[in-house]
């Protein structure tokens, strides 16, 4: 089954590699992946569509959450969402089929963004089904080239997905060393913790 996962990640070099390596390492296959900036500087948003069983998705999300550069992860598979994919399709166009193609473009609420004597570039946004349908209809006219962005997803309603992506406060190192030494003492001084 397809699952849509949204991950908020640090906008740093190598982060995309960390995420995709994880999918490879844990033997998951990515269907579609998009990355882009968010309204918060320094945070990117990934929309990942992955085909996996429910049980494995839980595990995958746990691994994603563990990545230090991954701030938050959401599984949007079971909530109402708006999904959009964008495609640019270059089709051959001549005097005979021009009108036909233009009508189809209107019906699908797509847009012609480039015109030459022999071709159109058509832009269409929508969910996956709509775009697949559009491509099927265009195919007989001769698709020269096509590019798609992959799906981006947003949950419906006013609540933002995340409260501005802030983490907890962390201890200063001096306290951490003290902590480690405390644990060390508990670990080593057997007579104290093992009363027998």
């Amino acid at each position: 089954m397809n699952h849509t996962i949204v991950a908020l990640v640090d906008d740093k070099p190598g982060v995309l590699n960390r995420v995709t390596s994880l999918f490879r390492r844990r033997a998951f296959n990515i269907d579609s992946l998009t990355v882009g900036r968010t309204e918060t500087p320094g945070i990117s948003r990934m929309t990942i569509v992955v085909d996996a069983e429910e049980q494995n998705i839980e595990r995958l999300i746990a691994y994603l959450v563990k990545l230090v550069n991954v701030i938050q992860v959401f599984n949007l598979s079971s909530v109402p969402t708006v999904n959009r994919d964008l495609a640019m399709i270059k089709v051959g166009a001549n005097a005979e089929n021009r009108m036909h193609i233009t009508q189809i473009v209107d019906v699908f609420r797509a847009r012609i963004v480039d015109v030459t004597n022999t071709s159109f570039i058509i832009e269409i946004t929508g969910d996956e089904e709509k775009i697949e349908g559009f491509i099927d209809v265009l195919r007989p006219w001769g698709i020269i080239e096509m590019v798609r962005t992959g799906i981006v997803t947003m949950a419906r309603g006013t609540t933002p997905l995340y409260p501005n992506g802030n983490g907890n406060g962390h201890l200063a190192p001096s306290e951490l060393i003290k902590d480690a030494e405390k644990t060390y003492e508990m670990r080593i001084k057997g007579e104290k913790i093992w009363p027998r």
């Binding site: 190598g14 563990k66 907890n168 406060g169 190192p173 001096s174 951490l176 001084k189 057997g190 093992w194």
Partner: protein, 568 residues
């Protein structure tokens, strides 16, 4: 204060509480080694970077502080890889610092340039490439923080040579910092604690599965309190050993493939399993479909990705084991399980009959004799570091560790050659401990060059080589499952006594059981590192054994001239 990157590095290490580092210099970390001379930190020169990595790992496991290893770029860094992976699989808090070529040359296949952060991506908890001198201080703070917090693990920091050499204004910053994507404060849901408490209270045949988490979170006292209050028997994972005293009547010993029969039977018969900081490794569970089918399962782990990974659990408590056990103890009344413990005692009796220790002496020297005598003459108080293979399993079975955190071994990755260097690291962590290495003749030869490190440092670790002239564990599998076709397992080793002597160290050879005591005693009295070559029975096997694909009750037991699967 104006400092160069290399000085910032050593100053940061001092601030993180580092007293000793293990490493190997080279072209791309020359500035770091130059600044080392002005630092109070002691540097141990390993003979191979893998050795340095295991030393840092052994150090960390022995004392709980972060172990640090250094290497140069290219081959220096790639030589660390096995050691880093070992630390990763066993959650050992370590920081690895590698030199990298000058940032302008990165990506141009310069001399000794390799993509270290790329190579180590799947075997580190996190890693960094630093090319800006001002980033060295903050990055090291993060690195140490990540290495020691939550589920510990290795963090690698790759620093370009120009970043080491450039200078910047730097003051140590001790203020709390934030990592947006990393929360160390993870606590279980109170309702789940309540639910777990009720399950524990009503269980009739509970068993605790104690793992490495007990040691890592320092939950030894809490575990003891839990066991004593609920009278629940404890089975240990390999890495859980020394998290609970072996001599305690409720300790069942190790579980799993080469676990005690009584532990495996108890797990299969249980109605409640309490997984404390363990991850249901395949060497522990046997066939998953047949694993403890009648038992409800409660798992406490700080790593959310371990929950439901191999075994579905009924209640998951995600958080620090020590804190969680404390909360759990608050809602548990004392209880007894006398019938259950009596049943387990019957299994124990059966095991004793099959134990080679209780069989008539046939004049041969068996590895279990060696380990058992080592246990006797060290009063079970040694800090034992093992290599990997039969020697490791015999050590786990026959060295009944009673001291906390005194059994160090490569469990997850099963890295041959781990023993000697890890022991050297452990000795630096606990100079007063009597450190013993148990290694096979195969594994010992993989890193025996580190004897030279021990000699140069003048430190004392005693090495017991269980020498059977075979790669014993593989030979055992060939015996059981490949018709005794011993392909590439017979191994003619060197004269280990002379190897020791060539390093200026004492070497001894033992061929009879009657010679064991004297050899151990004289090793204990000797000044430096000692190597004892125990020439043991060549074709002895580790029993019991749960073959792959079998469930825990289907053990091959000793003695069995033609091993058979027993359904008990």
């Amino acid at each position: 204060m104006k400092l160069i990157g290399a000085q910032i590095l050593w100053e940061s290490l001092v601030r993180e509480g580092v007293e000793v580092v293990f490493g190997y210099p080279g072209g791309a970390n020359l500035p770091i080694y130059n600044a080392l001379l002005d630092s109070p930190i002691h540097h141990v020169l390993a003979r191979h970077e893998q050795g340095a990595a295991h030393m840092a790992d052994g150090y960390a496991r022995a004392c709980g502080k972060v172990g640090v290893a250094l290497a140069t770029s290219g081959p220096g860094a790639t030589n660390l890889v096995t050691g880093i992976a070992t630390a990763m699989m066993d959650s050992s808090p370590t920081v690895f610092i590698t030199g990298q070529v000058t940032s302008k040359l990165i990506g141009l296949d310069a001399f000794q340039e390799i993509d270290v952060t790329g190579i180590t991506l799947p075997i580190t908890k996190h890693n960094y490439l630093v090319t800006d001198v001002s980033e060295i201080g903050p990055t090291l703070r993060e690195a140490f923080y990540l290495a020691r917090s939550r589920r510990p693990g290795p963090v690698l920091v790759d620093i370009s040579k120009d970043a080491q050499q450039n200078s910047t204004d730097w003051e140590y910053d001790d203020s709390p910092f934030q990592l947006r994507g990393y929360h160390s404060d993870i606590r279980p849901v109170p309702q789940d604690i309540q639910k777990a408490g009720e399950m524990i209270q009503s269980a009739r045949r509970p068993v605790i599965l104690a793992g490495h988490g007990v040691l890592l979170s320092g939950a030894l006292g809490e575990l003891m309190e839990f066991v004593e209050r609920t009278n629940t028997p404890v089975a240990m994972t390999l890495l859980g050993l020394s998290g609970f005293p072996a001599s305690h009547p409720l300790n069942l010993g190790m579980m799993g493939m080469h676990g005690e029969a009584c532990a495996n039977h108890a797990i299969q018969d249980a109605d409640l399993l309490l997984a404390f900081g363990m991850r249901f490794d395949d060497r522990v569970t046997g066939d998953l479909k047949g694993f403890a089918t009648g038992a409800k399962k409660i798992q406490i782990d700080i790593d959310i990705a371990e929950i439901n990974k191999n075994v579905r659990v009924d209640v998951a408590l995600i958080g620090d084991l020590r804190e969680t056990l404390r909360q759990l103890l608050d809602c548990i009344e004392p209880c007894t399980h006398n019938d259950w413990i009596a049943t387990i005692d019957e299994y124990k009796g059966d095991s004793a009959i099959r134990d080679i220790q209780n069989m008539p002496d046939d004049g041969l020297l068996y590895a279990p004799h060696v380990i058992s005598d080592l246990w006797r003459y060290t009063q079970g108080k040694a800090l034992l570091v093992t290599d990997v293979g039969q020697n490791q399993m015999w050590a786990a079975q026959y060295y009944k560790v009673d001291n906390p955190v005194s059994f160090i071994t490569s469990g997850g990755l099963g890295t041959m050659g781990f023993g000697l260097p890890a022991a050297i690291g452990a000795k630096f962590a606990r100079p007063d401990a009597e450190v013993w290495v148990v290694a096979g003749d195969g594994g010992f030869q993989m890193t025996q060059a580190e004897l030279s490190t021990a000699a140069q440092e003048g430190i004392k670790v005693n090495v017991a080589i269980i020498n059977n002239g075979y790669l014993g564990m593989v030979r055992q599998w060939q015996e059981f499952f490949y018709d005794r076709r011993y392909s590439a397992t017979p191994m003619r080793g060197p004269d280990f006594v002379k190897i020791a002597e060539a390093h200026g160290l004492k070497g001894m050879r033992v061929t009879q059981r009657s010679e064991i005591e004297e050899a151990i005693r004289s090793a204990q009295e000797a000044d430096g590192t000692v190597v004892i070559d125990f020439k043991v029975e060549q074709e002895d096997s580790v029993y019991p054994m749960v073959p792959t694909g079998a469930h825990l009750k289907q053990m091959i037991r000793r003695p069995a001239p033609n091993p058979v699967l027993e359904n008990v």
